[in-house]
Symmetry: C2
Subunit: 477 residues, 2 copies
C-alpha cells in the first residue's frame, strides 16, 4: 500500500477519476458474489493512454490492477483479494464503429450490452451473447468471463462473437489481436485466449465483434413436467434430434415456487417447466423447429404445451424466467439467495440427474437449492438459499458446493458454463483443471511476468472459497 503514489495517479487521470473515500472503496470491494476485499484505490480511466501509463507505473511498483465492468460477476472475479487498484472501465463506453458493409462493430469495454444492441437494431442485427444482466453488464466484462445467455444454444458465447481485441499488456504496451474478418488463420488466436481470462492477462480496451441478423419470427413454447427425469429426457432428445431451438430453458420446482411467490404468475405446481423457443426469417422454419420440440416434450409426458408467436404472450410467459434471479430471495422467509455453485455445464443426458443431485445434496445439508438454466447449451444454474446469518449454514453450503462439483466432474461436466471462476468456483476449477494449472500459470507469466493483473484468481486463487476473503454477510452465531 506504501507503494501507491496517488499523486502521480491523480495527475494522470484527473482528481475526479480517482476514488479513495472509504465508502467508495467499500462499494468497489464487492461484486455480485459472496466475497469482499477492499481495494487501495479506484481509478476511472478515460483513455487508452491513461491505462498504458497507469500499467507501466503499476508494473514497476508491483501494484495489482483489477479491471472491472459493472460488478455483476457472481464469483468474485473483480474482488481485489490482493488489494491494489480497481480499474473501473465504465467511462470508456463509446461504440466506435458499426460497420454493416464489412460485418463487424468495434466498441470500448465499458459499453453496456443493451446499448450495443440498441445501436445494432436499426441495421437489423444483434449481438447474441446476452446475459440476464444485459441492462448493466459491460461488453468488456462479458468477454473477460465468456458470458453467453439464454440464446447460447443457437448463437454461442462471447468467444464465438469476438473477432479481435485491443489490449494493454501489463508492461503498458498496446497490442491488437485477431482481425475484423469472419475467418482468420493468422497465427495464435490470442483474441480467443483472452475470452474467459477474467482480467488476469491484460486490460481489454477495444473489442471487434460479429453480429447476426435479427430473426423476423419467433415462437416460444412451454411444457410442464411432473417428473424431472422426463424434462431431462426431453432436453436430451430435442438436442439429439437435430432440432435447433434458439432457447431451451429448464426451471425446477424451487424456481417455479419462487417465481409464483414473487410475481403471482400462477405457474403450475409441477416438478419442472421447459421453455423452448425457435426463431427464423420465415415462419415455416420456426414452425419446423418448434413442432419438433413440442412433439418430443409431449412424448416425454410434457403437459399443457402452449405455443406463443405474439411478442406480448412470449414476454408474459418468459417474465418468470427473466425475473427468476431476484425472485429466488422470496422463496422462503429468512432465506437469502447466494451465488454459490451458481453455474456449471453438464452433458445434455445428465441434466435431470444433476438437478436431482443438487436437490439431494441440498436436503442432506439443510439448505435449499434450485436448478435451472440454459439447458440446450448444457448450462445449469443454481443458487444456494440459506439463512446467511448462521455460520452452520455456511458450513453446509461449503460441503454442498464441494459435493455438487464432485458430481459435475464425475459425469463429464465442467465447473463453469458462463459465470466464470473468480474465487468461489476456484476450488472446483483447480480440481477439474489440475493437469493444466502449471501451464496456465506459465501462460499468465508470458503476459504478466510481475503478476499485477488481477492476481490471486483462477489457478492462483485460494483452495477454500469460504476463507478466501471476508464474506459479504454478517453471521450472528
Amino acid at each position: 500500500m506504501g507503494k501507491l503514489d496517488t499523486s502521480f495517479i491523480r495527475r494522470l487521470v484527473g482528481e475526479n477519476n480517482v476514488l479513495d473515500d472509504p465508502a467508495d472503496l467499500y462499494i468497489y470491494g464487492s461484486d455480485s458474489s459472496v466475497h469482499e476485499a477492499l481495494p487501495w484505490l479506484v481509478v476511472r480511466p478515460q483513455t487508452v493512454e491513461q491505462i498504458q501509463d497507469l500499467l507501466r507505473h503499476a508494473n514497476e511498483k508491483g501494484i495489482p490492477i483489477i479491471p472491472r465492468g459493472s460488478g455483476s460477476g457472481m464469483c468474485g472475479q473483480s474482488v481485489p483479494i490482493k488489494g491494489g487498484i480497481i480499474l473501473d472501465m465504465k467511462a470508456m463506453n463509446r461504440i466506435l464503429e458499426v460497420n454493416v458493409k464489412d460485418g463487424y462493430c468495434r466498441c470500448e469495454p465499458g459499453v453496456v450490452d443493451d446499448d450495443l444492441n440498441l445501436a445494432l437494431k436499426p441495421h437489423g442485427f444483434f449481438y447474441p451473447p446476452t446475459p440476464a444482466s444485459s441492462r448493466i453488464a459491460t461488453i468488456g466484462g462479458e468477454i473477460a468471463n465468456n458470458a453467453s445467455g439464454v440464446r447460447s444454444v443457437k448463437y454461442g458465447a462471447a468467444q464465438d462473437s469476438v473477432l479481435g481485441l485491443k489490449v494493454v499488456l501489463a508492461n503498458g504496451d498496446l497490442v491488437s489481436f485477431g482481425a475484423t474478418t469472419r475467418v482468420s488463420a493468422t497465427g495464435y488466436p490470442m483474441e480467443k485466449l483472452l475470452v474467459g481470462s477474467e482480467g488476469t492477462l491484460a486490460v481489454i480496451v477495444e473489442a471487434t465483434l460479429r453480429f447476426v441478423p435479427i430473426p423476423k419470427f419467433r415462437c416460444l413454447g412451454v411444457a410442464n413436467f411432473n417428473d424431472l427425469d422426463d424434462a431431462g429426457n426431453a432436453i436430451s432428445e430435442i438436442m439429439a434430434s437435430g432440432c435447433q431451438p434458439s432457447m431451451l430453458e429448464l426451471m425446477d420446482h424451487v424456481a417455479i415456487t419462487a417465481v409464483n411467490k414473487a410475481m403471482d404468475l400462477g405457474l403450475p405446481d409441477v416438478a419442472a417447466i421447459l421453455l423452448f423457443e425457435a426463431d427464423g426469417m420465415v415462419k415455416e422454419a420456426v414452425d419446423y423447429e418448434i413442432d419438433k420440440a413440442k412433439i418430443i416434450c409431449e412424448k416425454h409426458h410434457g403437459a399443457g404445451v402452449e405455443l406463443s408467436y405474439k411478442e406480448k404472450d412470449r414476454t408474459r410467459i418468459f417474465s418468470g424466467r427473466k425475473k427468476l434471479f431476484p425472485a429466488l430471495s422470496k422463496y422462503k422467509e429468512f432465506l437469502s439467495s447466494t451465488s454459490l455453485a451458481d453455474d456449471m455445464a453438464v452433458p445434455f443426458s445428465r441434466m435431470a440427474q444433476t438437478a436431482r443431485k443438487i436437490h439431494e445434496v441440498a436436503d442432506k445439508h439443510g439448505i435449499v437449492m434450485t436448478a435451472y438454466g440454459h439447458c440446450g447449451a448444457g448450462c445449469m444454474h443454481t443458487k444456494i438459499l440459506m439463512d446467511t446469518t448462521k455460520k452452520e449454514q455456511w458450513r453446509a453450503a461449503e460441503k454442498a458446493v464441494a459435493e455438487i462439483y464432485e458430481y459435475v466432474h464425475a459425469v463429464g461436466g465442467t465447473t463453469s458454463a458462463e459465470h466464470g471462476i473468480g474465487l468461489s468456483k476456484a476450488p472446483a476449477f483447480k480440481i477439474e483443471k489440475q493437469s493444466t494449472l502449471a501451464l496456465m500459470r506459465e501462460v499468465k507469466r508470458a503476459f504478466d511476468p510481475n503478476n499485477i493483473m488481477n492476481p490471486g484468481k483462477l489457478m492462483d486463487a485460494p483452495d477454500n472459497w469460504v476463507s478466501a476473503t471476508r464474506l459479504r454477510y454478517s453471521t450472528t452465531e
Copy 2:
C-alpha cells in the same frame, strides 16, 4: 543429427513405424507448399504413450518434432526447416465416440475429414469445417491450421467446432483442454489457443468436436458479372443485408478460363462468377435466403442467374469451383500453379478491389494470378501461375507476394483466412503481427521451453520465404 538415438525410437514404436530411407525422407520433406527440407527421421506413432515417450526423449535431447497429417498444407507448416522428426499422425485415425445424445464426437488426429463426416451422416449430422482437400485432410491438421472451407460463411472455422483437445506437451505430459459441453467458462480456453498453432505448441492426440444437423434442403445460385466491381458490391450487399448464405464464392476470369480449359464446362467468358448457396430444414427458409441473394446479384448487373435445387444440378454447377485448384495448372502451357499468396482475408467491401489489385500486381511483374475464394467469410484465395523453371519468375513472385500483402494489410485484411502461415506467409504475418510477436514467443516458451515443437515457424520463421528452404522446383537459369 548426432543427437538422434534411432535404436531407442525403433524400440519405442516398432521397426515398421520408423522411416529413414532417403526416398521416404524426401517425400516427408515437402507438403503442398513450395518448400522442401529433409527430416532426420519419420516416426508413425500408434499410441499416445509412444508420443509421450518420444517427446520426453526429444525434449531432453533438443530434437525438433514436427506433427504432420496428410501434408496438404500449402505454406510449409510441416516442412522440417530445422530437421528433426516428422510425426506422421495418420495411423492414429480412430473415431472414438459419436455421442449424439450429448452433442459431441471424439476422434484421433489422423481421422480424415470425409471419414468423420461419413460416421456422422447416419445420425443426421455433419462436421462443418470442410476444406476442398477433405478427401485427404486430417482433423488434426485442420485444427492445427484453423481450416474452414466453402461453408465457413454460415458454419465457421475449426475454432468454432473444437470443444476440447487432448494434447501431449513438449515435456511428454498428457493434458486435456476444454470440455464436452456447448458452452464453458472454465478458465483460459487453451483448446482455442491451440487452433491455428500449426504444431508449434503441442501434439494434438484427441479432439472433442461439435457437429450440426445436415440441412434437408439446399439451393445453389450462380450469377455472371462483366465487371469485377459489380460482383464485389453484390458480395458486400448480400452480407450487409442480413442474408445468411451457406456458401458465397467468387471466381475471377483467370479461374473461369482455367476451369473451362481443364473441364470443358462452358462457363461464360465473364469477369467474375458468383456462386451462392442457401440451406435449411424447410424449403421456405432456403427460398428466402436464395431469393434475397438473387435480387441483390441482379441489382448489381449479375446476369444469367440460375437457381438449382436438385443435387445433380448443384454438383454439375459446382464442379468447376471444386476442381479449380488442379485446373489452374491448365491455364496456359509452361505455367505451373504455386501456392504463393495463396490465401488472405479482407473486409467484404474490399473484395473486388483486392482481386483487381492482385491482377494489377501480377501484370506488373509478368506472372499470372487468379482471385477466388469463400468471399462470404472474407476469404480470398489466389495462386501464382508462373514458369517455375525461370529464376526471374521467382523474383517476380517474391515482389508480387510482398505487394499484395502490403495491400491486404492496408485495407484492414489479415494474412491468412484458412491456410495458415507456415513459412511462405511468415514474412507477411510478421509484418502484420509485429506488435505481438514477442508475446507469441513467450506463449510458445510457456508450452515448449526447449523449442522442440515445429521450430522455425510462424513468428520464428525466416523473414524471406524464397530463401527459407530449398524450393521444390528446379530452375534452369
